[in-house]
Symmetry: C2
Amino acid sequence: MHQLPTERVFCRRTSTFEENASLMNVTIKDIAKMANVSYASVSRALNGKEGVSQATKTRILAIAQEMNYQPNEIARGLVKKQTLTLGLIIPDITNPFYPFLARGAEERANQAGYNLFLCNTNYQIENEIKYIQILIEKRVDGLIISPSSSQTERLEEKVRNALPIVYVSNAPQQTQNGFVVSNNTYGGFIATKHLIESGYDPIGFIGGFQGAGMVEDRLQGFRDAHRAYGMEVREDFVYLKDYHQETAYHLIQEMIRSRQIPKAIVAGNDILALGIMEGAKNLGFSIPADLAVVGFDDIPLASMEEIQLTTVKQPQYEMGSMSVDILVRLLENPADLKTKKVILDPQLIVRKTA
Amino acid sequence: MHQLPTERVFCRRTSTFEENASLMNVTIKDIAKMANVSYASVSRALNGKEGVSQATKTRILAIAQEMNYQPNEIARGLVKKQTLTLGLIIPDITNPFYPFLARGAEERANQAGYNLFLCNTNYQIENEIKYIQILIEKRVDGLIISPSSSQTERLEEKVRNALPIVYVSNAPQQTQNGFVVSNNTYGGFIATKHLIESGYDPIGFIGGFQGAGMVEDRLQGFRDAHRAYGMEVREDFVYLKDYHQETAYHLIQEMIRSRQIPKAIVAGNDILALGIMEGAKNLGFSIPADLAVVGFDDIPLASMEEIQLTTVKQPQYEMGSMSVDILVRLLENPADLKTKKVILDPQLIVRKTA
DNA sequence: GTGAAAGCGCTAACAG
DNA sequence: CTGTTAGCGCTTTCAC
């Protein structure tokens, strides 16, 4: 505390530009004054535009540097009517499905010069609407949203005429907007096909929230596969509840106790698959000998040595990056309506549970 | 495509306010014109400020509603010199440690009326600097950063005089800035203490990146525990490499093959612990009988039925929310320097691997 | 209670 | 090549 600041004084530069200037934000006006030019010229120099001689440009840039000038994107945004900012609205970043999606989105946004607001809605449509409102007021240039349900009328109404949006991972049936989703019907199909071809019969289905669209599609694929192989769907083995691991855990145990149990199960996602596996194992079942399980998503857990879950992998990172891609393209060329909707094929990863 | 839009026409309102107005953004000037008042009055009404009669206020609000007015936070920010926006700079959201931290930060920010830019740096200091620059230009009100190393001089220099920052999860030794970290020394201590008291001897340590500060502190706790129990640290069992699961996997297998192996290991984080467990198991070791393992973090994986990892839990969510808390408090009262630095005690979760 | 006017920091015509 | 000027949409004095 009482130490003399010898060194600092010693090192102080003769020019006091930097120290003073950086205390309060320096603007192009300050630079203009310093350089004896109009601030239009400063703007031109700073933005590398035509209309300044190389000489003055160099001088201006040097002064800007010296004064530690930081351009104000807010002010620029006000006149250019763009913020170089996007909103990413997802249900919950702690759900292992989303971090990769978010990463893909952020990385692509960054490449294109945009930043991303992260918004978690906790699967509440009210929060989705609240966030959309906030982001409109912040004048984000566009929105990526992974809606928690396929009831998106209220979202679309809110967003209409305000800003472009693209859906990711989940999209309403008949939207005008762009989207990137995975082919859930196909995913359900290949999961079921694999089980059928491996000789499992009958096969059950344990899925999550109805109304989001995804489960319904996966179940459709499940039915399609049965039909393709001339098999009847055992409706008493089809359950749609929620995405909690415990739900699946108890459900499977109930099934086992009542001795009404299929030889294999297609789970709505990996979390449910894990619940099923644990519930069955704890009742002495062996996986896949007594019960085969296929999950959905391929979260990092699935590939763990101890788990080795056979699952339908969704390209999460790509979904994130492609959705931003579509949005940015739309922003840069509003007329370009092609490649607006993409459906990515998921991929069956065969490990040891089926 | 060729369907006549009968219904839509039928439903169209006689007033065309909304349709027209929402096409291009309506401003307070538009409202003012509509209401026959100055736009100062509109501003006052909209912000619930003194200086408008209840009557005109009501009228203005009604018109604003009718015209579907959306306040422009950018313009407001320009004059108020605040954006109600914070930056969250972390290494990698796909590292399971961060989603909870991000969630805590986002939720608290949201409560305080702020939004959060999500920035992943991939553990690159250059990216940290690049992002700080961008966020300064976007005039975020403050910054939360989880630096990838304790070499933060360049960060601090960049940030100086520009905006307040608080560190989270990792902070340089001698910073003037606020931070929220966990007591890593204590964490290393209780992990080691538990192993010692359970009779394991000798005990090894496998940690990650040096230079970030965290590993060093955990190792310090490891040493402290040995000293407290009058035990020698077996330096040949102390390894500091990186945070890749494979690294730990191969390291432990090498140790086993060379028959130089401790009875227990404190791992730098849960990922490493998992690598150790798998490496050992695959060589026929039984956990914890042949080798006990304690992890660090308590990522969701750790509590899985199949894993049951004994670990030192860090309060990730709280770290996120508290760091925003400190930052917001600082923003709202720049003079308030108390409660700026918090060190949270981690907690030993005893499961089945030690 | 209300309006006029200045200005936040910047870009973009439009003149010279 | 350079300067002047008019905004972007809003808040905030300062008069009336």
